[in-house]
Subunit: 760 residues, 2 copies
Amino acid sequence: MASGKVVFAVSVVLLVVGLVVGILLGHYVTAPAAGGNKPPSGSSEPTVPKSYQDAVRKPDSSISGRLINGINPDKIRENLEYLSAKSHVAGSAVSLEQAEWIRDSWLEQGLDKAELTTYNVLLSYPPEKNDSQQNRIELLTSSGGAVEFTTQLREPPLDPDTDTPVGDLDILAPFNAYSGSGEIEGDIVYVNYGRVEDFHKLERELNISVIGKICIARYGKIFRGTKAAFAEKSGCLGLILYSDPLDYTVAGEPVYPDGIYLPGTGTQRGTLMSGTGDPLTPGYPAIDSAYRTPINETNLPNIPVHPIGYNDAAHFLGIMGGEETSSDWAGSISNVTYRYGPGFNATNQDKKVAMRIFTENRMANAYNTIGTIRGSVEPDRYVIIGNHRDAWGYGAVDPSSGTACMMEISRLFGSFVKDGWRPRRTIMFASWGAEEYGLIGSNEWVEEYIQKLGGRAVAYLNVDTAVIGTYTLGAFGTPNLHKTVHQAAQKIPDPNPEGKRMTVYDTWKERDFFGNTVDGNPTVGDLGSGSDYASFLQLAGISAIDLRYTFDRISTPIPAFYPLYHSVYETFTLVDRYLDPGFKYHKAMSQLMGEIARNLAESILLPMDVGVYAEYVMGYYENLRQGNIGQRLTQEGISLVYMQDAVNELSEAANAFVRRVDAADRTDVLQVRMLNDQMHRFERAFIDPQGLPGRPFVRHIVFAPSSRDAYSNDKFPGIVDTMFDIDNNPDPEKWNHVKKQLSVAIFTIKSAASVLLEVA
Amino acid sequence: MASGKVVFAVSVVLLVVGLVVGILLGHYVTAPAAGGNKPPSGSSEPTVPKSYQDAVRKPDSSISGRLINGINPDKIRENLEYLSAKSHVAGSAVSLEQAEWIRDSWLEQGLDKAELTTYNVLLSYPPEKNDSQQNRIELLTSSGGAVEFTTQLREPPLDPDTDTPVGDLDILAPFNAYSGSGEIEGDIVYVNYGRVEDFHKLERELNISVIGKICIARYGKIFRGTKAAFAEKSGCLGLILYSDPLDYTVAGEPVYPDGIYLPGTGTQRGTLMSGTGDPLTPGYPAIDSAYRTPINETNLPNIPVHPIGYNDAAHFLGIMGGEETSSDWAGSISNVTYRYGPGFNATNQDKKVAMRIFTENRMANAYNTIGTIRGSVEPDRYVIIGNHRDAWGYGAVDPSSGTACMMEISRLFGSFVKDGWRPRRTIMFASWGAEEYGLIGSNEWVEEYIQKLGGRAVAYLNVDTAVIGTYTLGAFGTPNLHKTVHQAAQKIPDPNPEGKRMTVYDTWKERDFFGNTVDGNPTVGDLGSGSDYASFLQLAGISAIDLRYTFDRISTPIPAFYPLYHSVYETFTLVDRYLDPGFKYHKAMSQLMGEIARNLAESILLPMDVGVYAEYVMGYYENLRQGNIGQRLTQEGISLVYMQDAVNELSEAANAFVRRVDAADRTDVLQVRMLNDQMHRFERAFIDPQGLPGRPFVRHIVFAPSSRDAYSNDKFPGIVDTMFDIDNNPDPEKWNHVKKQLSVAIFTIKSAASVLLEVA
């Protein structure tokens, strides 16, 4: 009996063992049966291929922490030291050398692919260092007379300890790209910031003509190319751009090499091109087969334009004649009383100004380096992180601070790939060429691959000048990515903690320089132009963000981007000694960008909130309606009722869509893909292939760089621009243009609503 | 020991039983665990939700047979009898009534959704039946003299037995839509077919000016709107369009009501608009909020244009003066010697011609009916079958023969849905309004939903005039769908079997009126314009086909589409008695279209062959290179080497892509989706948002309706048009336009290649 019990017990044990082993076998042996080519028919037993398991697998939760903890400020510092060691303007040998270094680094870091793409484009250069003629502005004793004063040909080194490379002749002398060339002579007129309202004040209020005059404008407030375009249109013979200490220094604060503010010898370089991309191939990539528009059919400036520092400017402004300007036109150069002109004061009345400008347009290569980590599940969905590489000088801030961060982000992702990880979606890294000339490298690439990007790009993340201050985060982006930035910022340790502040988000919220939004989160601003996100957003309709660490714009209300911007003093020393010793803000920026990229590349459902986007569009509409434009339209009898309907329709569609996303079955691979497609294609729906009035390649109907300042942006730019056109030059016929743009905006908003509806 | 053996045996049995049961449990208990919301994590056991099983399930193999066998010619006949019972021009009450009938029928048939979309657009109508003034052309005894002859105001009924409705006053009197209005008087000039070469012959060879003359052109060869545009541009005061018996009859063959050929009273109506879509809302949908272009900013004709039959034409042509025409200009009206004019012969030299045209443009509603069967697996992928509904008269051929077929196809699919079936992808049915005026209903719909369609539409299948003869299939389509048509045609029983011919394909191959292609299949022609596929293909870049049964164009070489086209004699009787008694060709057409739709909606991997597309593009390039254009470019020193590279690149990319499709793992849901996305988006890559020169809304770089005849098409139209412009009006500067268009074509082909590459 005992043996009977044993037999029974053994039998039960064997049965149980058999069952358990069987269940495990039955389960796992079929489970990873993986990737066979035989399609299962409807009725036979289903198998679970590895591809399905991958498609529904949650992201590896350890990656976020490994990324954030892994970012190493010493490596960022090393990257920056290399990248800012030499002057590396677009088209130069050093720029190519860096493009190749980035490619090689990416391959070494573990990216799947990294390669250069080259575009042959129209760039612009000042005379070579040994040319007999150099760009300069002269004060003449009289018309055609002797030269009494000449502006500096180059910026002198100021800090002998660390400015070793500064003043070396490889750096380009100060100039404005695409300036007209020629030698001109004339009387001077002061045009303040050179904005349209400044020219209007001179012409309409003060009755001072700028026609045939050499205009002098201070830098700041708006994009310099817009100043040049207004100056030429207004009839100026030439334009001098100078940096006024009021705009580039703070009283009592030390200038470089003792601080971050602009010394009197510092000069801002920069492009004058108002469009985006190679001026000879608008709308198409500058590939070998491209047709090049004859240069006289482009809208590049014809007049000479040249930048100087405030030491030089004092020689001209200090002896000007005419009325003293109103206080809002006055700068702060010592011992200068600001006057409108024209010409010089009684003591100097015979003196003239000569501009001798030999800047030339020249064909050159813009190199992009593109690195790729192939997505494991959705390789055909791209999250793109990019920054330009070219700089006017050493470019330690613009753009190398961003590239130094990007290279550290790619190092981390590459190391995860080496460890066997792979993101759900493809991550691309891009180092753009010739951004400084007009966002050329990124624009040509977007133009070349627009069909591919239109179907596949999820978002574009821009890291240009990563750190221009340490006060708070300055974030800009399309509304569907606001939450994505907030969530990431909440995960990043605060580089400047104080009191209860623990994360980047905490300080950002406390120091929000836009004022908090209604939902209590810090503000993410709107994108204008001025860096490489522009073609992604405004040509291809790809959602984008642009981030940096910035200074306190309230306590330091300078209209400059940052004081030493585009001068020769943007050196490694500047960053290492003053802007971010220890590189902890660079570290935070890298962590933040990396985490945002990870989230976009890894989440099963994309973290792109169309509900927030719809709220913003509603808000822009309310601003339009309640503001000056709304009042004018009402006076003209133009109804906004269809626009009201359209924004309501968008809100409802977005809310319903968000509910569907919340209820989505994450194991339903195609349902997830459909919802994601709707999410990332949503931005595309705001693109009108016909473009904005007069700007065929600026196609986003909600956001566009302002026509009156490419750095800032307008909402519903078609309406804003046609209204502005009426104000500027009234003609009853022009109301038809406004009506048409209103109807285009309405249709486009409705179209965006329709892509969010149930798919069939 | 024995018991030991038993114990061992029992143990083994129990272990085996346990294993087997366990394996089965392990397998099946987890297998159909279906659709849970809990996402499986990476390491825990995977489940197989129903959504995955659906996504990899093969199409139901019985549907194809049930569809083909289920098409019922009697039901098609019934559909046609209803649809052609009353005149139903766009904007009429009957057209709306039919739109609603179609909607109700679709809902009854089992479609998930059916609804009307309405666009308020500019149409054009002749005077009302009771208006005192009717459109007419008069022969006057002298300038301002008495009326000697007036053209018929309406086409008389000819067959008292069946033409009961014919001649009722609800049918529109003959007219040309969008004609200018006015009463004019003058001498007549004969301009043959009114092609550009005809006007050139008169002006350049014969030195006969048409300026200030009333031109008379015969219908045929090219689109009538192009004739009107050339006539106006050439300076004609007005244009008479008539149908010559040479082009609309066959000697010895009976005319209506005894046969299918045009009687002397028959008159072809038709639009004169050269563009596509509502003339007041180019590029945007004519929704309530749309801005309408002032009519004087459109390019609608300004001169009066009016159609007549050959009985009426004889009164003018029979007394014309001037030289006798060359034989290629002579028609075949009895007792008429064709002369160029100007004016009449000696006996009648004082006589003048007056055109009194009161046609008016008027805002009216175009109604589309859209019916939907929601896809089970990929509801966000659309296969669209469409036809227009509006007709100039009874429209028994154009368009109701197609609609009668479409309604039978929808009946079958609806019945399968009622039985529990559902296609993998969404199938949409569309009944378009106002096609006759310029493809308006379909164009406005494509414009309204272009963002949605751009991401989701797989293909558009057009069934307009389904049967104009019984000789063979006439198929037109984008190259990626050629094989799809071939495969379907091989499944459809031949309605005209003879000898070894068993299927539609067999007869089609034997009677291929284009000449066989290299691969031994019958030819599928290229798409021009002239029916509703145009906006899908040329505006949105959606692959398309257009099918009909046609007569033998070799033995019956009439240049007319078909003899009674757009006349009042396009009646149900015509179809039922002469064109397709028994409706077996309608049946075959329905089977064919239905099977193509089924295949596109059901196949796991889309049946769209990009390899064939690449071969065709290569062929078009070779034709260009070897032809006149290639020679001229070579003479001008313009190299085709980049274009050669581009077509090679496309070929290689397409071949590699086809290999990837062949090797695809059909159980990998996302891989399949990616390949399908690449396939259906491939056509989009040929779209240039900037459009063709002078035609911003014709955007396909490979195919476009010819600028010199909207019915036919050009390959690489940008190059063809700019070359033609040089020929027409030589100017060395214009070579830049050619170069630019060449570079655009090259870039676009390379872009199409790039969307076929590996995705990351």
